[in-house]
Symmetry: C2
Subunit: 191 residues, 2 copies
Amino acid sequence: MKPIVREYLDTLSGLSPLSPQTRELLLNCISTRTISKGELLLEHGEVCKHIYYVDKGLMRIFYYKDKRDITEWFAGDKQFLFSVRSYFEETPSKLIIEALEDSEVILLSKEKQEVLIKTNLEVANLMIKAFSYSLILSQKRMESIQFESAKERYVSLMEQQPEIIHKAPLQYIASFLGITQETLSRIRSKI
Amino acid sequence: MKPIVREYLDTLSGLSPLSPQTRELLLNCISTRTISKGELLLEHGEVCKHIYYVDKGLMRIFYYKDKRDITEWFAGDKQFLFSVRSYFEETPSKLIIEALEDSEVILLSKEKQEVLIKTNLEVANLMIKAFSYSLILSQKRMESIQFESAKERYVSLMEQQPEIIHKAPLQYIASFLGITQETLSRIRSKI
DNA sequence: CATTCCATTTGACATTTGTCAAAAAAAGCA
DNA sequence: TGCTTTTTTTGACAAATGTCAAATGGAATG
């Protein structure tokens, strides 16, 4: 077993305890992918069939709104990501996932995981934890967008995910914050 | 068993199949509460220990930001709601839940539900579905807030939850949309 | 029915953010 | 290194939304 897969299973165990037997079962749901800067992990129109985990690197999840590219989320080292609506509703994804750096990603197959949760309590409890955690993140992001000014959101981002500020181009950060790049540039110059 | 509890169990079964035995077990996690207009279902600072289901009525979830009252969500007939972060993180809730009408609410105890999911696969799968569904809702709301104008958000609300427009005071709708009541009033007058 | 209390609307003006164009800076490539 | 392309910054102005104050309207109450 690759060391990064072992570490990944450890991470999952950290969410909810997993016995050696269950870890063995999960191995069968897991694959890894090396992806180069600029490549897509999930294309527009594709159904999202995995939950991704960025072992190392930086991914961006975005979509097009009126031909304009809008960043919805960044995921750096040791973070999970997936196209929520496509994954659950099994519909073509409007969201696109691209690598902003050469990255190493671990994929958890939805199909296989869904077979497991029907029979394995540990995996079921793991998924409950995973989705709960996603829900908290989504909630935090919602609160941030709804009632912070552009400047406050930028400051929050600097505090919470400083690596994004350094690694991602300004235009991506701007759309993530829900503002134009000009506005972000001006905010930046005043800090 | 009260008929509304039976219907509630049917609703849950609709999310993920539940055997008669499991329904019996869930009964022990369920309580009901009648709540009058203006009363609070969850107070500020209280830890949210239930997932609520509005059998009949209308609830509002809100918080105070700089002494200003901000509506985060409405839940009408047959909808679920809870204070996400307080529930999962078991922290004092910043969110307050109040009844905008006399309502009938069903409560699902977190404590008892968490015991069940450790041993019962059906309940575990039910919770997975429930949280997945919440995650989709949260995601949709996020998309709406992030990249629709105030006017678009108002139109979406009219389409998706028209009863809110009729039942809730304008000021609550305005903060839910992330705008001031004056702006909403002006948007309204132009439609 | 009159009065009081809120909720809503309107007006005038301020602030924030967006748009478009151009300049400057940085990054990529021959 | 020098050239080209892309990204970021800056300026001028427009549009959207916020703020504050006052006017209006409606509901509740004595």
